[in-house]
Symmetry: C2
C-alpha cells in the first residue's frame, strides 16, 4: 500500500490512538473519495451549515475557530495532514464552528452517507472514530487549561511542543526543525493573546536560546528546557507507540 494514498493517511492517524484490525483498515481504504484543493483561507466548514461530507487533510494545514459577537476570534485547534476534520459535525445537524485552510490544502472528501454507514456497520472503525474524537476532546481540555491558567511564555511554549510532537508522530517533522504554517496572528488567536504580545514572547524565547528561527522555520536547541517551561506532558495526546506499517 502506497503511503501517499490519501486514505492511508487516515488509517495512520486513527491507528495512532486505537488498534485497527486488518479488516478495519481494508474497509477504511475502500471508502470512495474525491480530491479537492482549497486555497489559503478557504473554508472547510462554516458555522451553522450542515456538514458536506467528511474531509481528510492530504496536505497542508487547517484551523478550527469560533468568533465572539464582536468579532474576536479564538482558534480551538490546528490540524495536520492525515486528520479527518468533519467527524465533529458528521453526526450533528449543523456545525458550531468554522474550519479554514491555513495554507493551501488538499482534501480527500468522503461522502457523509458512506462514512456514516461504515461507522455504524463496523464496530472496530466506530471504536477508532470515537477514540479519535475523545482524544481531540482531551486536547481541547488541555487548550482550555493552557489559555486559562498559564502565562504567555508557557502558553506559547506549550503550543510549540504539542505541534512538534504531533507533526513528528506523523513523520512530518524533520529533526532539524519544521516550518510553522501559522502566522503570529493565528498563534495569538489560539493562545488568547494579541499578535503583538506573541511577537514579544517569541523574541524572548529566542533570546533565551529556547527556540531558534530561520524565517518561519523553527528549531529547538534545548527541547527539554522548552518542555519544562511549557509544563508540557504529552500524556493528554493519548498516543500509542506507532506500530510499524
Amino acid at each position: 500500500m502506497d503511503a501517499t494514498y490519501p486514505l492511508e493517511l487516515l488509517v495512520r492517524t486513527l491507528s495512532a490512538h486505537a488498534a485497527l484490525s486488518a479488516d478495519d483498515r481494508k474497509q477504511l481504504l475502500a471508502l470512495p473519495f474525491s480530491l479537492r484543493t482549497l486555497h489559503r483561507n478557504g473554508y472547510l466548514v462554516r458555522e451553522g451549515e450542515p456538514p458536506a461530507g467528511c474531509g481528510i487533510i492530504v496536505s497542508g494545514h487547517a484551523y478550527r475557530h469560533k468568533l465572539t459577537g464582536d468579532g474576536n476570534r479564538q482558534i480551538v485547534s490546528f490540524h495536520i495532514p492525515g486528520e479527518p476534520i468533519d467527524l465533529q459535525t458528521l453526526f450533528l445537524a449543523y456545525a458550531d464552528h468554522n474550519v479554514q485552510a491555513l495554507t493551501e490544502v488538499q482534501l480527500a472528501m468522503v461522502s457523509r452517507p458512506a462514512m456514516e454507514a461504515l461507522v455504524l456497520r463496523n464496530a472496530g472503525v466506530a471504536r477508532a472514530v470515537l477514540i479519535f474524537c475523545l482524544v481531540e476532546a482531551s486536547i481541547s481540555r488541555e487548550w482550555t487549561l493552557n489559555v486559562g491558567r498559564r502565562n504567555a511564555r508557557a502558553r506559547l511554549a506549550h503550543l510549540l511542543c504539542e505541534f512538534a510532537v504531533r507533526m513528528d508522530h506523523m513523520g512530518l517533522a524533520p529533526p532539524e526543525g519544521y516550518a510553522l504554517p501559522m502566522t503570529q496572528e493565528h498563534i495569538g488567536d489560539a493562545l488568547g493573546l494579541t499578535a503583538v504580545h506573541v511577537n514579544r514572547t517569541i523574541k524572548a524565547l529566542e533570546g533565551e536560546g529556547l527556540i531558534a528561527r530561520a524565517g518561519r522555520t523553527l528549531s529547538f536547541p534545548n527541547i527539554d528546557a522548552l518542555r519544562e517551561i511549557a509544563d508540557f506532558n504529552p500524556l493528554y495526546l493519548h498516543m500509542q507507540p506507532r506500530a510499524a506499517d
Copy 2:
C-alpha cells in the same frame, strides 16, 4: 417507567441530543448498575488511572478539571444529574484529568465491560454516545472561546446562562432561580480568573440588576440583557426540542 429510576436519567440526557429508538432505550435501561454515594470533594475520576466503570450522576453536581505543574487548577466542565461522566475515559487507557464531586453525589455505576459491549453491539446507542461526546467537545470549544476571548463580565454571564439552560433542559431549574452548587473559587477556576475577581464581577452584575442573589440562590431579573452581555448563543449546546416522555 419511573422518572427517578437512575438510568432513566441517562436516557433523558442522551435523548437531549440524539433520537433513541424504543429498543435503544430498553437496552440502556436494562444495564446492570450499582449505586454509590460520594461526599463532597470525593474523586469520581483520577488523572492517570484507568476508568473504573461508567458513572452516571443521579443527584448532585461534579466538575472536571486539570492542574498545571505548579498547582493551578482549570475546571473544564461542570456536570449535572443525568450526565454520564466516564465516557471520556471509557475507551481510553487512562484518564487525562480529574473529576470531583462539587456537592454530595449519588452515582449509578455501570461496569466498563457492560457499557462497552452495549455501545459496540447497538449502533443506535453508539450513535447517541458519540453524539453526546461530540456535544461535550462543542461545549469545550465554547469554553476555550469564553476563557480566551471574553472579559470577566462576559465570561461569568456566559457560564451562568449555560448552566441555567442545561439545568432547565433537564427540568432541574425552577423558574424562580436555582442554587449554584459551586463556590466563587470554582467559578474562578472555570473562567480562568481568581476568586477575588469573580466576586467583584458578581457584585457588579448584581449592582446592575442583571442577577439577583439570596445566599447562593440566583435568579435572573433580566435574562435577555444577561444573554446579551454574555454573547450567549445556545446553538453550541446542540439541544433538540425535548420529546415528551
